[in-house]
């Protein structure tokens, strides 16, 4: 029902209702930013791209047709911008990777709180490895995993967004999760030990 409400809001934006756009912006600012941040691995770039996503949504309001879910349209724009950025800045990022410089000099974000410095360092290292493993996935696999895991999209919606079939999406996700499982196997063991302990 929330998705239908999003489309309704967008139709009101199409009619010139700015408060409806402000509501959509407020509703999707965090998920769009987080998706982009996981794609480009840079908070500053993610913020700039997220702004551009919403500007494009607003600019395209006159031609908006609720033929697909609003989120499919929104994340298609986001994916397009993120992939364009990644392709344009490939050389620069390769250079940074060789230097092992953290993005924007910001510390790695860790979900857990209330832990000691040592635990924080270990957690930072774990997250850095997870990020690297996801970042090393081929573009389409990475997009599929991020949309499936964090944006909670189903196969059909991801297929529509990537202009491919559902079976192709299943295949992409299968390969991506298998690849991540192998690369992060020791972390998973550590997690299991930690949980058991």
């Amino acid at each position: 029902m929330a998705v239908e409400a999003d489309s309704q809001l967008m139709l009101r934006v199409k009619e010139g209702d700015e408060p409806s756009f402000a509501l959509l912006l407020h509703r999707f600012r965090v998920p769009v930013y987080q998706f982009l941040n996981r794609m480009v691995e840079s908070p500053a770039v993610a913020e700039e791209l997220a702004q551009e996503v919403f500007l494009r949504v607003y600019r395209a309001r006159a031609t908006y047709e609720p033929s697909a879910k609003f989120t499919t349209w929104l994340y298609r724009i986001s994916t397009h911008l993120a992939l364009n950025y990644l392709r344009d800045s490939r050389k620069e990022r390769d250079h940074l990777r060789l230097d092992e410089t953290p993005e924007d000099g910001r510390p790695v974000q860790v979900a857990s709180a209330g832990i000691t410095i040592e635990e924080r360092l270990v957690a930072n290292d774990r997250v850095a490895r997870i990020r690297r493993a996801v970042g090393e996935l081929p573009e389409k696999q990475r997009v599929a995993v991020l949309l499936h895991k964090y944006q909670e999209m189903d196969y059909r919606q991801i297929a529509e967004l990537l202009d491919t079939s559902e079976s192709a999406v299943k295949s992409l996700l299968f390969r991506a999760y298998e690849s991540l499982r192998v690369k992060l196997a020791d972390l998973a063991t550590g997690h299991a030990t930690k949980v058991a302990g």
Binding site: F21, A22, L25, H26, R29, V30, Y33, Q34, F35, N37, R38, P43, A46, E47, A50, Q51, F54, L55, Y58, R59, Q109, V110, A111, S112, A123, R126, V127, I130, R131, V134, V145, K149, Y150, S167, K170, S171, L173, F174, R175, A176, Y177, E178, S179, L180, R181, V182, K183, L184, L187, A188, H191
Partner: protein
């Protein structure tokens, strides 16, 4: 070099196989992916986006008053446009009719200058009379006159 996941995928038979295997891998990986918090945008994110949109919404005022005027005229319906054009034409015509003709003001001559001017005019008139006298007193040769005709 292919990784393990890709090698598995190369022997992958179809969607059924995916659905049997993927959830196991997915569930294990999802627990790890939960550790990755991607943060939030800056607090002024919404305000920045809305400000950029408002700035884009008034491009005609940023491009100059002439563009704005043209855009305003374009937005107007035909009848109102004709009415306004007629009113403008009337105002311009009235302004032209009321405008005084551009004639150079007469500068009063000084007394000495006017006396000098009248003396010159008298001299010129006398000289003209003398020339006329000479012209009529000298008889014109008949032959030459006929030849000219």
């Amino acid at each position: 070099m292919k990784n393990f996941g890709e090698r598995e995928a190369s022997g992958f038979a179809g969607p059924e196989h995916t659905e049997n295997v993927a959830p196991e891998a997915r569930d294990g990986v999802w627990v790890l992916l939960d550790e990755w918090n991607a943060g939030e945008p800056a607090p002024d994110f919404d305000a920045t986006v809305l400000a950029r949109i408002r700035a884009e919404d008034r491009p005609e005022f940023q491009n100059g008053w002439m563009d704005g005027l043209v855009a305003w005229f374009r937005g107007m319906d035909a009848m109102r446009g004709f009415g306004l054009a007629g009113a403008l034409a009337t105002v311009v015509f009235a302004a032209m009719m009321l405008r005084e003709p551009a004639v150079a003001p007469e500068v009063p001559l000084s007394q000495a200058a006017s006396q000098e001017l009248s003396a010159q005019q008298v001299e010129l008139a006398l000289e003209d009379l003398r020339m006329l006298d000479e012209l009529y007193s000298t008889p014109a040769p008949e032959e030459n006159h006929n030849k000219k005709i």
